[in-house]
């Protein structure tokens, strides 16, 4: 492990200054084209995930370019704020970076008599970021758990506190890891806790940040930092570490192909929830917004925001459930 990571680190460092282009993600050509219709007006308000905040804003901008007088307001303070807003009717859309919990859905059902509906709008590889000078090539999920969790439910018997604990040498060996994470209203926090830490508890030393971008900025200015947030927030100052499912397994890079295939262990869908009465069609503004988001034009925005677009079969499936045609 030690020798291997050093070797890989060497390769990474050597290529890093010369790397010409990051991988660009392509749209699924089978995605439907969005066709403008007439007579769409009204107002759309979205309250929810801040991971999806920029994405919702990009969609809103695109949608507004087509339907100038649809009023749009976007608010994003964490996935946890979406279900209450949908229940209270203060928002038409509730973007969430994790699936809705059963208790939240029940709360909604209690008021309306049916469950909220979700569409899958994008794919995100939840990335573990380190400073750009950090040579670490790969971490296993168990190591990630031992780094961030104090309960270590994934079964690693030893706590990981310093970079030396995962076999790094030189100036890194004695330096403690400085941990960055999200606040508890965030869906990223919830998803990471569930998938990477088997619902264990975060260490008290994790610095909880108010936004995913703040996590990345924290890591960028702290050479010995490690943190997690959506791949869309990657900058030139940080690097996403490859993740393997178990120690010794193959290391999987956080990229589109691995996220689609499911090889990357902590990839997830980004959802948008809304209130749809199963016995009534959606009003035009919402229906068109949904169609726009799932179209080629909408998925272009996903790429623009650094996430991975959904594929055509997924879109068709979601649209069929919603009873919408393109």
């Amino acid at each position: 492990m030690n020798r291997k990571s050093a070797l890989a680190a060497f390769a990474v460092v050597l290529t890093a200054p010369f790397a010409v282009a990051a991988q660009t993600v392509n749209l699924d050509p089978a995605l439907p084209d969005y066709k403008q219709v007439s007579g769409v007006s009204g107002s759309i308000k979205s309250i929810g995930s801040d991971t999806l905040n920029n994405l919702m804003t990009l969609w809103a901008e695109g949608f507004k370019a087509m339907y100038p007088n649809v009023k749009i307001e976007i608010e994003g303070k964490g996935s946890g704020t979406a279900p209450p807003a949908l229940v209270a009717g203060t928002a038409q859309f509730g973007p969430m970076s994790r699936p809705m919990r059963a208790t939240e859905a029940d709360e909604f059902e209690k008021k309306f008599g049916y469950k909220p509906v979700a569409m899958r709008t994008a794919v995100d590889a939840l990335a573990v970021f380190v400073h750009k000078d950090n040579p670490i090539a790969c971490l296993s999920l168990q190591q990630v758990d031992a780094i961030f969790s104090k309960t270590r439910k994934s079964g690693l018997d030893k706590d990981i506190k310093t970079w030396g604990d995962i076999g790094m040498t030189g100036e890194w060996a004695a330096r403690p890891m400085s941990l960055y994470g999200r606040n508890s209203a965030s869906g990223t926090y919830g998803y990471f806790k569930e998938e990477a830490m088997a619902n264990g508890d975060f260490k008290d030393s994790v610095k909880e940040q108010p936004g995913s971008s703040a996590v990345v900025q924290g890591i960028a200015s702290d050479k010995f930092a490690i943190g997690y947030s959506g791949i869309g927030y990657k900058t030139a100052d940080v690097r996403a570490v490859a993740i393997s499912r178990k120690t010794g397994d193959k290391c999987i890079e956080a990229n589109a192909d691995n996220a689609y295939s499911g090889d990357y262990a902590i990839a997830r869908f980004l959802y948008v929830y809304f209130n749809k009465n199963p016995n009534q069609p959606l009003d035009p503004a919402r229906a068109e917004f949904i169609k726009f988001v799932l179209s080629k034009q909408g998925q272009q925005g996903v790429i623009k925001d650094g996430y991975f677009p959904v594929t055509a079969p997924l879109v068709m499936n979601d649209l069929k459930i919603l009873g919408l045609m393109m």
């Binding site: 007439s38 030189g170 108010p210």
Partner: protein, 576 residues
């Protein structure tokens, strides 16, 4: 310099003892130095912060040169150098370097430099910033034919012009008539603004009318409790109106479509430094300039045109580009509304407390409570505003006045009015305290004189006391305004949102929309700083927005101070 305040102490101290330290302490000298030092420290911190914001804010929009960097391995990169830092390259890498470079790093104690380039072209590269290690660079050039294009989407493009298609006439690199290109670009941009005007204002008006017809019908339906005859009549009338309006809409849409089709005939093909091409409508380019071939005057032109866009345009690309007009407007409108709400409340409370109430235990308790209110964390006000104003008051208003819009809330959610009221609550203690002080400072002799002349108590307050206290009251309002304009935390709960391009005041009845959510400069800073996709690209925007917020607060304060000074001047020599 220390004044002579300590003289009496020195003489008596010198007579009693000769020990110097006691002397100094007695004279208060160290204390004085401490005071001066604290003041200097405070001024330095404020000045430093201001300088940082000013420098970064003002420098952001100045166009930078574009470097073409050829790397040792043959790769070529074009970009604006953004910042440089030193780092310690890993030993494995240093070992692989040529001896001369290695020696250079060794004399530098193992450190090497690297530069962050903004390469743009996010749609082609998948990233827009890149670190280049200095020793990996073979040479740097600044060719004059490189352009920077600011686009409506995908951010900047850095590259060369390959060809231009101006309504059928195609020109290729080398033979592009620049003046014609610039003229065509201006034309295309003008058409683009026209399209936006049609879409935003005219189609907006039509859509608004259709929506209000729909709501009016719903109201009839709610009143008649289902399909009755008057409902059927109303429905027929509404349908007829909607048909005419839809016709109007289609006419406008056709006009916009024609302009769009015209714009599609003007295209430009760009090549990035690696040779990949990208075709673009001219209308989708905000501005372009040859970054390495600009006179100082042209640079200033770009600089001010960027400022103009920033101050007057709507945000684009999830708030990281374009302007902040809605945020400026929202901040301004909310602060004014807050002052309108807080001034009468604060002044009346203070008047009663100071002039009418019998000074006793109860009034003391009230005063203590008011003073304590000033210490309550602002987020608590936010929670109160959301619960009381938005949910209880707003929810009731919705049920009584806007039942046809339910379940979509009108006033039952955060909005301009609730934000202003919440901030008014937050700042009312400041106004009360300041007003009380000002009232207390009006000389007793003036009141007694007025009363002796036969004026009633209210006449005395109205004609004598209040005018004299006005400058003090204004000071209180200025403090309240400064506090309110800079407050963000409670607003996040009661109406400030990331994106709300609709201004709260516009040309559609009832002109001021108290119920609308709005954007705020303070929240914009937070949003762009901590939430934007690329924090690197967002940083300059944070500084510029901060600069703007400071300027706006300073401007509002300055106006209030001018008004106060006028009032003061009015009463100079007005003593009995």
């Amino acid at each position: 310099m220390p004044p002579d305040s300590g003289h009496t102490f020195t003489t008596s101290g010198a007579a009693r003892a000769t020990s110097r330290p006691t002397d100094l302490r007695a004279r208060g000298e160290p204390f004085l130095w401490g005071l001066g030092g604290a003041l200097a420290f405070g001024v330095m911190m404020v000045a430093g912060l201001l300088l940082l914001v000013l420098w970064n804010g003002f420098a952001t929009f100045y166009p930078r040169p574009i470097h073409v960097v050829t790397l040792v391995n043959g790769d070529v990169i074009a970009g604006e150098p953004t910042r440089t830092e030193d780092f310690r390259p890993p030993a494995t890498e240093v070992a692989a370097l040529p001896a001369a470079v290695r020696a250079g790093i060794e004399t530098n104690l193992g450190f090497a430099d690297r530069t962050l380039y903004r390469t743009g072209n996010f749609d082609l590269y998948g990233d827009d910033f890149r670190w280049i290690t200095d020793y990996a660079v073979a040479r740097v050039a600044t060719p004059p034919d490189l352009y920077l294009f600011e686009r409506l989407e995908w951010g900047a493009f850095i590259g060369r012009i390959k060809s231009v298609d101006l309504a059928g006439a195609t020109f290729y690199a080398g033979g592009i008539p620049l003046d014609r290109l610039v003229a065509a670009h201006d034309e295309a941009r003008r058409r683009w603004r026209q399209i936006r005007e049609i879409e935003h204002d005219e189609i907006g008006r039509v859509n608004q009318q259709i929506e209000s017809e729909r709501l009016a019908l719903r109201k009839v339906e709610l009143r008649s409790g289902g399909p009755a005859t008057d409902y059927a009549d109303a429905a027929r009338r509404t349908d007829a109106r909607v048909v005419t309006l839809t016709g109007e809409y289609e006419g406008l849409a056709a006009r916009a479509a024609a302009l769009k089709a015209e714009n599609a005939r003007y295209t430009i093909t760009l090549t990035e430094i690696g040779g990949r091409e990208k075709s673009q409508n001219l209308a989708d380019i905000v501005r372009f300039y040859p970054a390495n071939d600009l006179s100082v005057l042209a640079r200033l032109g770009v600089y001010f045109s960027r400022w103009g866009e920033f101050l007057t345009a709507e945000p684009r690309e999830a708030n990281t580009e374009g302007g902040v007009l809605p945020a400026i407007f929202g901040t301004f409108a909310m602060t004014l509304l807050m002052v309108v709400a807080v001034a009468p409340f604060g002044v009346m409370t203070a008047l009663y407390l100071r002039e009418y109430a019998r000074q006793g235990r109860l009034v003391s308790i009230v005063r203590i409570s008011v003073n304590n209110l000033a210490g309550v964390p602002s987020i608590v006000y936010g929670v109160f505003g959301l619960g009381f104003f938005a949910y209880i008051v707003g929810g009731t208003i919705d049920q009584v006045f806007f039942p046809e819009r339910l379940p979509n809330p009108t006033f039952g959610t955060g909005g301009l009015l609730w934000s202003a009221l919440t901030l008014a609550l937050l700042t009312v203690p400041v106004v009360i305290v300041a007003t009380e002080e000002a009232l207390a400072a009006v000389p007793r002799s003036m009141r007694e004189g007025s009363l002796a002349c036969g004026a009633s108590k209210w006449q005395t307050i109205h004609r004598i006391v209040l005018p004299r206290a006005m400058p003090g009251i204004m000071t209180g309002l200025i403090l309240a305004m400064a506090r309110g304009a800079g407050e963000v935390a409670p607003l996040m709960l009661v109406g400030v949102v990331k994106l709300a391009p609709e201004l709260p005041i516009d040309g559609i009845f009832p002109y001021i929309h108290f119920e609308r959510s709005f954007m705020h400069l303070g929240f914009h800073i937070y949003d762009v700083g901590f939430q934007s996709r690329n924090s690197e690209a967002g940083k300059p925007m944070v500084f510029v927005t901060t600069l703007l917020l400071i300027a706006l607060v300073a401007l509002m304060n300055a106006t209030a101070i001018v008004v106060r000074n006028r009032l003061k001047r009015k009463f100079v020599g007005g003593q009995f």
